[in-house]
């Protein structure tokens, strides 16, 4: 039995040898490919931004000379303290409020029997679907300093009415628009938390509040910290709301400052903006480092829970109706700016006035006649779908390598794909513009450019969706298919992909909707040949064609909501919960 003829040994050995190389090479090659792709997407813009920040004063003929003056200008600016102060207040308040709101929603949805959970999910996808600019405009219509339609009635009742263009308004509105993201990131961990840890504390005699304080909060701390850092990163980069709502209240943040510094002279000097971007990257990288630490900790924590685990819903008793009312309230608040915008779009005149009775399609016909409107929509859908597909796939493959291979340095993929989260959109857009103007490929002036930038910009978010989903799948599941004879590609395609489909769909929708509504990158990169919806909206805003803006915004919102609703419905029908 142990004697083998040379005839059988020869091919067997050869076969064995080739097999020895193949899988390793396959994984390594995939790793290298993903690393190179991610590197090309992420590193040049980063390097370019840093370089630009050190070469201020460039003109059309020559680049600026190397120096630190951009940083000097940044810090020496007489307004630096005010700007830093405003930014700090806004960042801290808005991110904390978003965390509290989103965290509370996540807790109640995941862990209690509150009524009206559907409203919370409604908020999430409304928020996905509505462009930030429309939200801001809608809030100005509702609560604008001069002509907010809701202000007189509220004032009549309360004796005071909130103003959209104020620090309070800015913080609350911004927090409302981030809460859904917080919700999505926390609802999973909240659900996965071993309820018996809390129940054992309850049976020990601790009150619900003590349990929350001494058990739940410390247990969730890593996840919460991770999300907090993510929200802070976003808050520091927030652009639309501070610009639209903050400026007229005299609130100045770093991002709006960048924006106006780019607009100071006719030939903009990007050094200051880049210096600011670089500073953000340094600051936020620290935050990101904390985030990675925090999530690593949290994975350690969750492994503790035993195998017999069934999440129990806390019975809120009659309070569950109150929680439902709050959820409905949040839904109404999210929907309100859109409704305001839809209503305005049918009014011939802007503002409050007495034109309620007048009804007009005029604004819609104006939109229909707007130049390149259909090209813009087509482009946006293409770019959004492309970016969503590529970013999700890239992150999926990267995560696959990170959690399933033993290739050295695989963790670097995670870091690499997470970096763009700290580069402000405008700066990233600029870097892509400068870079791809010089790349001798027909990328500049095509949709590819915008798409590439979106992929880089949204990969960090796609990563946050995809990674936990893949980590949850027991390695046995794919090992079993390997033993059954499937190669790596088949394992990925037939086994893993279908299993992480809910996360893939979630990630896709997130990137798609955000790419379609993104202004900061698109406005830096679009060209005559590549108008997109977001820049058209921006145009309407700048043109002062507020009626058309309202009409177009309403159409987009309704279409997005319909699309989002359809996607959610389909996903649900297919048995995925998003």
């Amino acid at each position: 039995m142990s004697v083998t003829t040379p005839a059988t040994r020869g091919p067997g050995l050869l076969h064995a040898l080739s097999a020895f190389r193949m899988p390793r090479f396959g994984k390594r090659a995939t790793f290298l490919t993903v690393a190179v792709v991610a590197g090309i997407l992420v590193l040049p813009p980063l390097a370019l931004m840093v370089w630009t920040s050190f070469t201020p004063g460039g003109t059309i003929d020559e680049s600026g000379s190397f120096g630190f003056s951009a940083y000097g200008d940044l810090f020496a600016s007489e307004n630096f303290r005010k700007i830093a102060g405003d930014t700090a207040i806004f960042t801290v308040c808005a991110s904390l409020l978003a965390l509290v709101l989103g965290g509370a929603m996540a807790f109640f949805v995941a862990r209690t029997n509150m009524k009206g959970k559907g409203f919370v999910y409604g908020c999430v996808f409304l928020n996905f679907a509505i462009p930030g600019m429309i939200e801001a405009t809608g809030w100005i219509i509702l609560l604008g300093k001069g002509a907010g339609v809701m202000r007189p009635p509220i004032e009549a009742v309360l004796g005071w009415a909130p103003v959209a263009q104020s620090m309070l308004g800015l913080v609350v509105i911004q927090a409302l628009s981030w809460a859904p993201m917080v919700f999505l990131l926390l609802v999973g961990p909240f659900r996965a938390m071993d309820a018996s840890l809390e129940e054992s504390a309850l049976t020990s005699g601790a009150s619900r509040f003590t349990v929350l304080r001494k058990i739940s909060a410390p247990m969730m701390a890593p996840s919460i910290l991770a999300v907090l850092i993510l929200v802070v990163v976003r808050a520091v980069q927030a652009f639309e709301m501070p610009l639209f709502l903050g400026s007229s209240a005299g609130i100045r943040t770093f991002t709006t400052e960048i924006y106006s510094s780019l607009r100071k002279s006719f030939i903009p000097d990007y050094a200051t903006a880049s210096a600011f971007g670089t500073m953000l990257v340094v600051l936020l990288s620290f935050g990101l480092y904390l985030y990675h630490r925090a999530t690593r900790l949290s994975s350690k924590f969750t492994t503790v829970s035993g195998k017999a685990f069934r999440a129990r819903e806390i019975d809120l008793g009659p309070w569950r109706y109150l929680a439902g009312v709050f959820a409905a309230g949040a839904f109404v608040l999210t929907l309100a700016p859109v409704l305001a915008m839809i209503l305005t779009s049918f009014w011939p005149r802007l503002g409050r006035g007495d034109g309620l009775g007048d009804f007009t399609w005029h604004n819609y016909s104006e939109v229909a006649g707007y130049r390149n409107i259909w090209t813009g929509i087509k482009n946006s859908v293409l770019v959004g779908a492309g970016a969503a597909t590529v970013a999700t796939l890239l992150c999926l493959v990267a995560t696959f390598i990170i959690v399933r291979s033993k290739v050295k340095g695989r963790q670097s993929l995670d870091h690499l794909l997470s970096v763009p989260i700290v580069i402000p959109g405008t700066v990233l857009g600029l870097a892509f513009l400068i870079l791809y103007l010089r790349v001798p490929l027909p990328i500049y002036g095509s949709l590819w450019l915008i798409m590439l930038a979106f992929i880089a910009h949204y990969s960090p978010y796609a990563m946050r969706y995809v990674q936990p989903a893949l980590v949850q799948i027991s390695p046995d599941i794919d090992d079993a298919s390997r033993v059954a004879g499937a190669g790596e590609v088949t394992v990925f395609r037939k086994i893993l992909l279908p299993l992480v489909m809910p996360a893939v769909i979630g990630s896709w929708l997130y990137v798609f909707f955000h790419a379609v509504r993104d202004v900061s990158i698109a406005s830096m990169l679009y060209t005559a040949a590549t108008p997109v919806v977001a820049t058209q909206l921006l145009d309407m805003w700048k043109d002062g064609t507020a009626g058309a803006l309202a009409a177009y915004g309403s159409m987009l919102s309704v279409a997005s909501i319909a699309m989002g609703g359809l996607a959610f419905w389909l996903a649900k029908r297919l048995g995925f919960s998003l």
Binding site: S248, L350, G351, I434, L437, Y444, A529, W541, G544
Partner: protein, 339 residues
């Protein structure tokens, strides 16, 4: 890289020929060659219907030439032109931009010399020439920026007639301004026309009126005044107000003399790859058809008399450098006074 230079030199030669063709068959020649070119790209800071109307007019005559537009405000366009030029991949053929930004770009040498019979209809004041007297751009329209107010918000008696009336205590907290170039030029107007010292004193008092600063374009600001979101603003475009009034909004425009005039210049890029089409489109912009469209949308020719005195910001300055320097001063003043 050498080859690239070569071919671009050749192209420049070709475009130079088209732009300065004076033969009697000029129209036919340009039309034929434009048809071959097939398209052109127009960089413009114009807003609203004027763009569509202009393209429609052009396509009436030349249906085979597609016109793409890149719409942005002055800094969008200048920065894009600068970056594209640096990289040698300028996408545009024609530019239509307000005079100061136009001059600035022209000074860097990106604009081509051209000659068209229509140029004779324009006064020298609104023709930008290089040292050799070649035409680099022609002012095709003007828009006037001054005071606009919401009739429901400001009673007639408080409506200012002069700059000094802006200091009326009744207007305190009711004046808005954008932080775009439009807002900055307002200070230029005051400093230049009142004199530096008097102007600064005036601005100080104006700041005490609690000016509300919005980060929106001038046209969006007009919309805010129309809706009542803002009460009034000395930085609103006349043509925007006209449009809004037509739609029935309670807004009115009042000239505070001298009114700041934004003169739009049109011209052709040196690196234009569609010189014939560009030339023809420039002709349309500058010609009677263009003027008609501009007029209908309240963009008069720059030399038309509207019954008030006006001031073109860059006109008082010899070189773009001087203007840029002054502009920076205004901007700093804007920052320190109003924010």
């Amino acid at each position: 890289a050498c080859g690239g230079n070569d071919s671009s030199a050749k192209e420049a030669g070709a475009s130079s020929k088209a732009l300065n063709y004076t033969g009697s068959d000029r129209d036919a020649y340009l039309a034929g060659c434009a048809k071959k070119e097939g398209s052109l790209t127009w960089y413009t800071s114009l807003a609203g219907d004027v763009i569509d109307d202009m393209i429609a007019k052009f396509n009436e005559a030349y249906p085979d030439v597609r016109v793409d537009t890149y719409r942005g405000d002055e800094s969008d366009i200048t920065s894009r032109v600068v970056e594209e030029t640096k990289a040698g991949r300028l996408q545009g053929d024609i530019m239509e931009l307000s005079s100061d930004a136009y001059r600035e770009l022209a000074a860097t040498g990106v604009m081509a010399e051209f000659s068209t019979p229509i140029s004779s209809k324009y006064s020298d004041r609104f023709t930008l020439k290089d040292d050799n007297g070649g035409i680099l751009g022609i002012g095709d329209r003007a828009s006037y920026v001054s005071f606009a107010y919401n009739k429901d918000k400001i009673p007639a008696k408080d409506v200012p007639k002069t700059w000094d009336d802006l200091l009326n205590p009744a207007l305190k907290g009711k004046i808005a301004l954008t932080d775009s170039t439009t807002g900055v030029r307002l200070l230029g107007n005051i400093l230049t026309n009142m004199g530096d010292e008097k102007g600064r004193a005036f601005i100080e008092k104006l700041a005490a009126q609690k000016i509300r600063i919005e980060s929106v374009s001038g046209s969006a600001l007009a919309g805010m005044v129309a809706s009542g979101e803002a009460d009034s603003s000395p930085g609103v475009f006349r043509n925007h107000v006209a449009q809004l009034t037509e739609d029935g909004n309670p807004i009115e425009w009042v000239p505070l003399e001298p009114v700041t005039a934004n003169v739009g210049y049109a011209g052709i890029f040196k690196k234009s790859e569609h010189p014939c089409a560009a030339m023809l489109f420039t002709d349309t912009l500058l010609g009677d058809a263009g003027t008609e469209i501009f007029d209908s949308l309240q963009y008069p020719r720059p030399d038309e008399d509207l019954g008030f005195t006006s001031w073109v910001p860059d006109e008082t300055f010899k070189t773009p450098e001087q203007y840029q320097k002054a502009f920076t001063t205004w901007q700093d003043l804007f920052e320190s006074s109003f924010r």
